[in-house]
Structures are given as structure tokens and as C-alpha cells.
């Protein structure tokens, strides 16, 4: 496959994130900030904004890749209920860290996107649901929203029109499932974060049973550029059916892990070997998870594939959130799968039976295999459990757990068989089944403290102090 010449590619989303002070409104305004929102509100009617975004073929960056404009057009026009625009910043798919960069380094681009999206669906209240663990990001957003209110970018009468918009930032409490559209809405309503049954889809009946649009952070950051430069320009970036810039988070065994902005449709091989500097330590590539751990795994020979929604779908995996996890040939795939399933077991909300029980069972089987007590029939049992989980639950968390499991077990079956045959002789040192912090593991902070033995914080055990209580005890008993 032809390699893209990335040197000619002009960064769009990440143009400013490396710059000093890119998170302030002054910097943002100096570099053409809020022009897109101003243009949308003053020059276009809401329906025109929806048409432009529809025309641009912008697809949701949250994972499913649903066309953004189409989603907006599902919002009923003639309703007396309030409408809501919700931005999903609950970025919790393992391996994903793209929204975090935008939130921390360019929060105003998110606010501008929210203004455009809210205006398009004619809503006056927007929410930004941010993952609870992103404390710095939350602080950055609060600061940015305050600045935006001060400059009149939010609040009453935006850009001299009679359009009002309020933005509230809401912090999650640390649940993967609250990144799911309806789970997020349940959580935002103050309920237990459990996905709701679709239909009704949120666009018809969502937050507080009112029409709601939920978009990903990266999706809304594209909006201003589409408004500013037009849908045609946007469509020229990457494949026509899902164009635009894409943030891909490369992690794992590569030389330069990180978040990269690339045009949609970049070859996965080019991304790994070119952009991310290739597999580390000169090792060979073994497997790649292309779109967060929920996606099906790709073997080394399958990575010559363009990174866009349709091409990934064609080879039965997905681009998902764009989290590319690279594994070299030293990786133990059983251990990797165990790590993934452990996550899904921990994060299953417990609503639907197949997911609640299935994830736990998979973890128990894998734990047993890891401990050297596997049985050959376990492999088929796991595949059968995956089969019984996929497509039988309210949300797709069961699928998200079953897809990596079934794909890793099928594609690396020999490794599982080898591990089971090896039995209890298996080297347990790289067994991740213990506590998340390995006993004996010492943080850098503690390492330094240990070096410096005179640190006053250290509790010194004076032999005299230890012996004294026992002596007194003897005295009282005698």
C-alpha cells in the first residue's frame, strides 16, 4: 500500500498543542479562535450547520464511527422539550489518551466545537462529562470555561445574536461504562451508571428523557475547521466516506509511543514503523490491537491496512477510539488477554447476565491457565462463552470483552495450548494476577528515600524502644 507523505500534512487538531500557553483564551483568539463558532452563529441557520457537517462526512471519533451530521438530524425539530448537547470526555478505553491532550492543551477548541454543535441542534444547555481521574484536565477545562464566559463566548447573547448557551462540566466517578453513551447519560442524571435500552435513542429521548446528542471530544474539535474551511476541504483529507484528521494513540512496544495526528486512512504499518519509530529493542512485531482493547487483535501479517473505519471493518476489527497497542514477539498473549479480561470483569456494570457472569468466568479460566492449571477444553469453553456474550446485552461492553478474547484465542491458539501443556511448570514471575502494585515494587520516590537513610520521615526502629513494652508487660503479669 502506498505510503502517505506526512511531511506535507498540515496538522489541524494538534497545531497548537505543543505551544507555550496554548490553553489560554488569549493565545486561542490570537490564532483564529472562535472564528468558526462566530461564523456558524452569525452566518448560518442551525439547519445549514447540520447540512455542512453532513456534507463533510465527519464520523464520530468515540469508537462506533457514526456520521455526526446524521446523528444531529435525528433530533426532533418540533418538540417543546429542552434539548441537550453532551460531550463525552470520559475517555477510558484502555490505551486511549487522545482527548486528554486536547483537554489539557487546547480546551478552547472543545468549547468552540460545543458552541457549534449546540447551535446546530438548537439547544441552550450543554454538558461536558469528564472522566474523574483527569484532575488536571478538569482544572484546565474549568479555567477555560471561566475565560470563555468572561469573554462572552458562553452565556447570554453569543456574538451579538440572541443565542444563549450554558456549559456545565461534570466529573465522572471512575467507571468505564460511563463512557458508553447511555451509561454516561444515566450517570449525568445522578443515577447508577448503567446503560439504557435503545431504542429510544438519546437523540429522541436521552438526558432527563429529552432529546440529546452525545459527541466525542475529538469529534467536536473538528467542527470549527469544517465551518471555517468548508466541507469540501475536509472531505479531501483521507477517504471520502470517513475523512478528516485522526488522533491515534500508539502505545506498547514501540520506540516513540504517543498521540499522533495523522490523516484518516494512514497505513497502520506506516504508523507503527514510521510515525511511532518501529518496534522497540529491534524486536519483531507480534500483534496489534488497532482500536482500543475492545477491538479484535491483528496479527503481524495483517497490519498492512489503512486506519479508517470502513477498512478496519472490512477485516473484522475496528478503528474504535484509535488506540493502537503494539505488542512485540516477547509478549505472552495469554497474559495480555488475561490483563484485558481482568479489566472488563472489573468494569462490567452487572446489569445484563451474559456480561456480568461471562466476564467473571473468562477471568477465572484465564487466571487458572496462568497459574498452570489449564485444561485443553478451556480454550473451546472460552470461545463458547464469547459466543454467548456477543450481541446479547443492552450495551456493547460484553462484545468489547468477547471480541479481544475470541480473536486472541483463535489467532494465538497454539500459545494457549502450549501454556496449558506446560502446566504448573510455567514461570510465574510475569504473572499479572497479583495485586496491581506488585509486592516489593518500589516507586521512584521511595527508592530515593531509601538511598538517603538520614531522611527524617523514616521511622527508625530503636532496639530499646522495642524492648521496653515487653519488659513492662512482664512486670505487670508477675
Amino acid at each position: 500500500m502506498a505510503e502517505l507523505d506526512l511531511s506535507k500534512y498540515e496538522k489541524i487538531l494538534f497545531k497548537h498543542v505543543d505551544q507555550e500557553g496554548s490553553d489560554t483564551i488569549d493565545y486561542y483568539l490570537k490564532h483564529g479562535g472562535y472564528e468558526g463558532a462566530k461564523k456558524a452563529i452569525t452566518e448560518h441557520r442551525p439547519s445549514e450547520v447540520i447540512d455542512i457537517v453532513k456534507e463533510s462526512n465527519l464520523r464520530g471519533r468515540g469508537g462506533a464511527g457514526f456520521p455526526c451530521g446524521v446523528k444531529w438530524s435525528f433530533v426532533p425539530q418540533n418538540t417543546d422539550k429542552p434539548k441537550y448537547f453532551v460531550v463525552n470526555a470520559d475517555e477510558s478505553e484502555p490505551g486511549t489518551f487522545k482527548d486528554r491532550v486536547l483537554i489539557e492543551r487546547d480546551p478552547h477548541s472543545i468549547i468552540e466545537g460545543i458552541i457549534i454543535g449546540s447551535y446546530a441542534i438548537k439547544c441552550n444547555v450543554a454538558y461536558l462529562y469528564i472522566r474523574g481521574e483527569l484532575v488536571y484536565g478538569y482544572e484546565q477545562l474549568v479555567k477555560a470555561v471561566k475565560e470563555a464566559y468572561d469573554k462572552g463566548m458562553l452565556g447570554k447573547g453569543l456574538f451579538g445574536t440572541d443565542y444563549n448557551l450554558d456549559l456545565t462540566i461534570h466529573r465522572g466517578a471512575g467507571a468505564y461504562i460511563c463512557g458508553e453513551e447511555t451509561g454516561l447519560l444515566s450517570s449525568l442524571e445522578g443515577k447508577r451508571g448503567q446503560p439504557k435500552i435503545k431504542p429510544p435513542f438519546p437523540a429522541v429521548e436521552g438526558l432527563f428523557r429529552c432529546p440529546t446528542v452525545v459527541n466525542n471530544v475529538e469529534t467536536v474539535c473538528n467542527l470549527q475547521h469544517i465551518i471555517n474551511r468548508g466541507a469540501e476541504w475536509f472531505k479531501n483529507i483521507g477517504p471520502e466516506k470517513g475523512p478528516g484528521p485522526k488522533l491515534l494513540c500508539v502505545s506498547g512496544h514501540v520506540n516513540k509511543p504517543g498521540t499522533y495526528e495523522v490523516p484518516m486512512g494512514i497505513n497502520l504499518k506506516q504508523l507503527i514503523y514510521d510515525v511511532a519509530g518501529g518496534v522497540w529493542k529491534g524486536n519483531k512485531l507480534k500483534a496489534v490491537i488497532p482500536g482500543g482493547t475492545s477491538a479484535k487483535v491483528l496479527k503481524a501479517e495483517e497490519v498492512d491496512v489503512p486506519c479508517d473505519f470502513d477498512s478496519m471493518m472490512a477485516i473484522d476489527t475496528m478503528l474504535g477510539s484509535g488506540a493502537v497497542i503494539v505488542m512485540d514477539d516477547t509478549t505472552d498473549m495469554v497474559d495480555a488477554l488475561y490483563n484485558i479480561i481482568r479489566f472488563y470483569h472489573h468494569e462490567s456494570c452487572g446489569q445484563c447476565t451474559p456480561c456480568r457472569e461471562g466476564t467473571g468466568w473468562l477471568e477465572k479460566i484465564l487466571k487458572r491457565i496462568m497459574a498452570g492449571h489449564g485444561r485443553m477444553e478451556d480454550i473451546d469453553t472460552m470461545l463458547n462463552i464469547c459466543d454467548r456474550m456477543v450481541g446479547k446485552t443492552i450495551c456493547v461492553l460484553a462484545d468489547a470483552a468477547a471480541f479481544p478474547c475470541s480473536s486472541i484465542v483463535t489467532k494465538f491458539r497454539s500459545e494457549f495450548e502450549a501454556k496449558i501443556q506446560q502446566g504448573a511448570g510455567y514461570d510465574k514471575r510475569i504473572f499479572t494476577g497479583g495485586p496491581l502494585v506488585q509486592p516489593g515494587a518500589v516507586s521512584r520516590h521511595n527508592q530515593e528515600r531509601r538511598k538517603d537513610k538520614d531522611t527524617p520521615n523514616r521511622i527508625s526502629l530503636d532496639p530499646e524502644l522495642i524492648s521496653k513494652p515487653s519488659q513492662s508487660k512482664v512486670e505487670t503479669t508477675s
Binding site: 470483569h345 456494570c349 446489569q351 477465572k364 446479547k392 443492552i394
Partner: protein, 543 residues
């Protein structure tokens, strides 16, 4: 509400019509097609979490949960394909993973939906060899206990507490396979509808502490009847084992109680099985000895009252019934005292209490199951005006003899009545409890109570409902209506003693001229509205 449009669709090729918006599972059940389920309950909003009711629909790629899929024109549903069977088996295997399978010691065993569904659709063994999850066993409140291990997290109970009782004590805590029902610290499950959560629990996770280890459900026989705990007249199923009532559970009646009943109502059978229940007749004869032969009861009362009547005139005797008697008993009672030519006819009733209102359920303030029946048969004044007259009559010695009914469950006669009754020359009491501490009685007669009577009662909303016999009377006791009829025989008013069904035939048209039915059988299981519930005495509160 306007009639919803009917839509035509197919289940397994069978053409079915149902109003638009009906969920597939409901339409299927109404058409007699079995769709196994756990979390779906017709009285609660569907939740779609158990995934047991998965079916194939022509408008979806994946199997859909039939409890949350509305019917649509031309929809084709398949409930018996291999995919569906595989999905059901899968769900059941997963459901049993962490279920302790302690059926031999579980109270729910025998009426457990998990048991039934596993027998019908489930796998025959489990492939899991790992240890199961352990969840707590604890008290949720004074009435309900939790066996966490058995919970399948269907959320029926939490939805009940949110939607029907509106009290919201229950919630699911933890995540994934650790999730289990629990209460918030310091807020136990204490509401008057709490035991309904036990009824709707599809497994034995929530257990009634009162019924715990009392009986195995397959040994019990069910009798449809009504609760006599208050004027609501909730439709119930009386469950008895070896002629002893063990439990009362609600029976569906959309007009009265829907699927629910209150906790207090489940206790109404307690006086019948209580240890201090009066079981022997004590008829004081002229020579001061006590006769216990029930056959002599009618003549003893009749002679006693006749004696008073002969000495002091017919005006000197009084009859006091109660609002806990069935309509048939009240009817014979009324006829008898009309025959004895006395105007002093009253009825005891328990005092009004505060009505309790829940989101979808009302507990009325009137604790008398047949107050309206008394008003119709004995007259409206019997309950208060006449009682006062009788009380003052006894106090000023103008009334010298009385027959009273004291079958108002655990209610005790007020003090002024107790002292007044001691002034009587002749007193016959039908009582549930041993009243030998009242030395003045001439005849003490055991009364019958809930679950032992046949007959009808008129609830607070004017609905005539059927009482049925669930347990046979203790061998020493006769029915009150029989004794009253025997007294009628002595008066020459009746040729033979007839059962309540015959009394209903006599009474029906005489009391309610517009009544369309003639036999008690026609009341059916759901009762008949004989009066429009215009003024609603149920909701009247007495402070």
C-alpha cells in the same frame, strides 16, 4: 385513554393482533406462547437486563429482549429457533455460575423461576469449576432477609421500591458479578409493602422472615380468596398445609390490588392459628354447670334471649354484629333479630386509622373488611348510632340480654363496653379469644375467622367479592351462620339449615335490587362492582 391502534404481527408464524406499543413478551403471553423471563414483571416497567426473554425479530440483526421490544406492524418474531434456544441456554448457564444451588434449603424452591426455567431450557451441568462468588446473607429490615448468593440481579425489587412503593430503600450495590441487592446504611427496608419484594423475587434472594422454613411450597394448597385485613379487600391466595394456613400471597386483580398487598394483610390468618384461640363452647346451664356440646348452642342462646324477652319484653334484647362478618352472616343475623322483634341491632367496627398512600398503592384508613356490607344489610346507623343507644340501654338497665360478635381479629372491646356487658342478665359472645376472664357471660361461643368462611364481602369501593374456605374448621366449632339459622328454626322462620351459597341467593336481590347475578359462583375470582365508588370512604382519615 383512547384505544391504541391494533397492529398485526406474527409470532412463530401465528398471526397475532395487539395494541401498538405492547411489548412482544406481553402479547406472546396473552397468545399463550411461552417466553421464559426473569426481570420482566407485568406490574413493573420493563428493564431488559436478564436477557432471558431474547427472541429473534425480523427487524433486528441480533436477538432482542422481548420485554423491551414493542410490537410493530408486520413484525415476525421467532421464539423457538436454534439461536434463541442457544441464547437461553447460555443465559441460564451464566446465571447459575454464581448461584449456590442450595434449593434443598431454599424457601423459594418449588416456586422459583430459576428452577423452572433451568428445567425447561437450561443446561444439565456447569462447565465452571472455579469457586463461586460469595455475597452477604443479612437482614434488610424487620420483615425481609437477603440471601445475596442467590440473587440474580434482575432488579425487580429495586424497581418495586421505586415505582410501586416509591420508598426506594433497595438498590444494587457493587459492580459486575459482585453486584447484589442491598439497603443504604441506616435505612432498612421498612415499608408497609416490603413483603411484595419477596413475592416478586424470581429466586430465593429475598425471603420473608415470617415464612422462613415454615413450609415447602409444593406441600401447600392454594385457595383464592380475599384478605379481610381492611376495607380494600385485596385478592389473595391462601396457602395452607395440613389444614393450617401458612402464608397469604396477593392475587392479581387490576380493579382492587393489582399484583400487590400490604404486609399487615399477610398477618390476618394469625388469630386463626393463634394459641389462645377459643375452641370450646361454654354454655352456662340453669343449674350453673357448663355445657360444651356445640349442638346445644343454638337452643341455649335462643332460650336465654327468650327468657329475657319474656321477663322484660322484646325491647330488652339486643344484637351486635361486626364489620368482620360476611354479608351472608349479617343477613341471617338481621333476619333473626327482626324475628325476635327488637330494634336494637348494631355492629362493632374497628376504629379508623390513618390511610397510607404509596406511589401505586393505597392502604385505606378503614380497617373493617365489610363495613359497607353492614351499612347495606343492617343499615347505616348500625355502626354508630345504634351502638350508642344499645350501650346507654344496657347502662340504664332497659336492655337485659344480648348476642354479640367479637371476631374483630386482635381488637379488644372498649372498657365501657366491658363494664356495661357485665350488667346483663344474659350474654352470648362469639369470640376468637378465650374470654373466661369475663365472668358474666352466659354463653361463650368460638367464632370463625379468615380462611374458614364461605361467603361474600363488600369492600370499601363497593365491590362484592368472594370469600372461600381454605382450612376446615377445628372439629369442635360450628359456623355462626348455622347457629343463627338453627335459632331461626326455633322461631319457625326457617325449615332447614342451608349453606352460604343458598343464603346468597336469598340475600342478593333483597339487598341489591339491581344485582345481575343470582348465585355466589358468578362472583368469580375477581368479584363484581355492585355500587359505584362515588364517595370514597377508604380514603377518609380520622385523626
Amino acid at each position: 385513554m383512547s384505544e391504541a391502534k391494533l397492529v398485526k404481527f406474527k409470532i412463530n408464524g401465528q398471526e397475532i393482533e395487539a395494541p401498538a406499543g405492547t411489548m412482544v413478551i406481553k402479547a406472546a403471553h396473552e397468545a399463550g406462547i411461552d417466553v421464559p423471563h426473569f426481570c420482566y414483571h407485568p406490574g413493573l416497567t420493563p428493564d431488559g437486563n436478564c436477557r432471558m426473554c431474547l427472541v429473534e425479530a425480523s427487524n433486528a440483526r441480533k436477538p432482542v429482549a422481548s420485554c423491551v421490544t414493542p410490537v410493530a406492524e408486520g413484525l415476525e418474531i421467532t421464539t423457538d429457533s436454534d439461536t434463541v434456544k442457544e441464547a437461553r441456554e447460555g443465559v441460564l448457564e451464566l446465571m447459575l455460575l454464581n448461584h449456590p444451588l442450595d434449593c434443598p434449603i431454599c424457601d423459594k424452591s418449588g416456586e422459583c423461576m430459576l428452577q423452572d426455567n433451568v428445567y425447561d431450557h437450561g443446561p444439565d451441568n456447569s462447565r465452571m469449576t472455579e469457586p463461586k462468588m460469595m455475597k452477604p446473607t443479612k437482614d434488610l429490615g424487620s420483615t425481609v432477609a437477603l440471601w445475596g448468593n442467590r440473587c440474580i440481579v434482575c432488579q425487580r425489587c429495586t424497581r418495586f421500591c421505586e415505582e410501586v412503593s416509591g420508598t426506594g430503600e433497595l438498590a444494587i450495590i457493587h459492580r459486575g458479578d459482585s453486584s447484589v441487592v442491598d439497603v443504604f446504611p441506616g435505612y432498612p427496608l421498612e415499608n408497609d409493602l416490603s413483603l411484595n419484594t419477596v413475592d416478586i423475587c424470581p429466586v430465593g434472594a429475598l425471603i420473608s422472615k415470617d415464612f422462613l422454613y415454615e413450609a415447602r411450597v409444593w406441600n401447600m394448597k392454594d385457595t383464592p380468596s380475599i384478605c379481610t385485613g381492611c376495607s380494600k379487600g385485596c385478592n389473595v391466595e391462601i396457602q395452607q398445609e395440613r389444614n393450617q394456613t401458612r402464608r397469604i400471597v396477593p392475587r392479581h386483580n387490576p380493579e382492587v390490588n393489582d399484583y400487590w398487598m400490604c404486609d399487615e394483610g399477610r398477618e390476618v390468618f394469625k388469630p386463626a392459628v393463634s394459641e389462645d384461640r377459643l375452641l370450646d363452647y361454654q354454655l352456662r346451664t340453669a343449674d350453673g354447670t357448663i355445657d360444651t356440646n356445640p349442638k346445644n348452642a343454638a337452643s341455649a342462646i335462643f332460650n336465654g334471649l327468650n327468657q329475657v324477652s319474656a321477663n322484660h319484653g322484646t325491647q330488652a334484647i339486643a344484637g351486635i354484629g361486626s364489620a368482620f362478618m360476611s354479608c351472608e352472616e349479617l343477613y341471617v343475623f338481621k333476619l333473626l333479630f327482626d324475628g325476635l322483634q327488637t330494634p336494637h341491632l348494631g355492629a362493632f367496627s374497628r376504629p379508623q386509622r390513618e390511610a397510607k398512600s404509596f406511589k401505586q398503592f393505597e392502604i385505606p384508613g378503614d380497617p373493617n373488611p365489610n363495613r359497607l356490607g353492614v351499612e347495606r344489610i343492617l343499615g347505616r346507623e348500625a355502626l354508630e348510632e345504634n351502638l350508642e343507644k344499645i350501650l346507654s340501654g344496657i347502662q340504664n338497665q332497659s336492655i337485659r340480654g344480648a348476642l354479640i360478635f367479637d371476631d374483630l381479629l386482635d381488637w379488644d372491646l372498649p372498657a365501657e363496653w366491658q363494664s356495661a356487658l357485665s350488667q346483663l342478665e344474659f350474654l352470648a359472645i362469639f369470640s376468637l379469644r378465650d374470654r373466661t376472664h369475663l365472668p358474666q357471660h352466659s354463653c361463650l361461643l368460638p367464632a370463625t375467622t379468615f380462611g374458614e368462611k364461605d361467603g361474600s364481602m363488600l369492600n370499601g369501593e363497593g365491590r362484592l367479592q368472594r370469600l372461600r374456605i381454605a382450612t376446615q374448621l377445628p372439629r369442635t366449632i360450628r359456623y355462626e351462620h348455622e347457629i343463627l339459622q338453627q335459632m331461626q328454626q326455633e322461631l319457625g322462620m326457617r325449615s332447614k339449615v342451608v349453606p352460604p351459597s343458598a343464603l346468597f341467593k336469598e340475600m342478593g336481590k333483597a339487598v341489591w335490587p339491581q344485582l345481575e347475578i343470582s348465585t355466589i359462583r358468578e362472583l368469580g375470582d375477581q368479584g363484581i362492582q355492585v355500587e359505584s365508588p362515588t364517595e370514597n370512604p377508604q380514603r377518609a382519615t380520622v385523626s
